[in-house]
Symmetry: C2
DNA sequence: CGGCATCCTCCAAGATACTG
DNA sequence: CAGTATCTTGGAGGATGCCG
């Protein structure tokens, strides 16, 4: 059995990038916004729509479906008139929220720095056309 | 001056979503892959291209430029023949890498669960057409 | 109210070819 | 080797209209 990790390759490969899979799940434009807005408790469709500025009805639906499919949140329908549908993070959804927190922290801490870096970069002479 | 935080609004708004800005920086298809591959030290262009399977020359260039502009990594040119260009994470880039680690962890831990959730969802009767 | 179906637009990203 | 330039396309995402 020569199967197990014979690390003879000089190539610097870590495990085949889960990175890609994470991005497939929450790397789109709206998913993390939805998760974030649900972190304080369940919300209804229209409440979410109002909370997430700029999202279209379609994209909210699509995003919610995707997150529901992935087990990140649950969709609860109360069959009344008018309809009442609420969305809530699953336990796994909450752990996801936890996992994204550091990244949020990071952005808050470094956004200024990044803006500065951009300004510097854009001011470079070698970037501008001759 | 009524500027300071008068939190009278009943709306459940946290701070105006940095989430979006993070995604603008690293939410695209390749950025995090690049960052991840550079986390163990500097690499040259072609080394990166080989390491990140499926990336095109163009997208690697574009991604690297963007990350350089944001101050996530540095580009170092040695003017020899043949050309030698290497990319390395800045200190800020390394903190970014740290910040994404939990999310990576999360995906590794939960991907199986997610697959299961998807299977369950797809097996639902109400999803299939009549 | 909370969707789904349809149409349309636009740009991210791939393929290819050329250059310093 | 490390790019840039150009062309092209798929699909993400917006707008609108109808339905239970």
């Amino acid at each position: 059995m020569t199967t197990a990790g014979s690390e003879s390759r000089p190539t610097r490969q870590q495990e085949p990038c889960r990175t890609r899979e994470v991005l497939d799940i929450v790397g789109d434009k709206w998913s993390l916004l939805v998760v974030r807005n649900l972190s304080q408790g369940p919300l209804r469709f229209t409440e979410l729509k109002r909370a997430i500025d700029g999202i279209s009805q379609r994209m909210l639906t699509v995003t919610l479906r995707s997150l529901e499919r992935d087990g990140i949140l649950t969709r609860t329908v109360r069959n009344v008139m008018p309809p009442h549908v609420s969305y809530e993070l699953t336990p796994m959804g909450k752990t996801l929220r936890q996992a994204t927190a550091p990244l949020l922290e990071w952005s808050i801490t470094h956004l200024t720095h990044i803006d500065a870096a951009r300004a510097t970069y854009d001011a470079r002479p070698d970037t501008s056309p001759t």
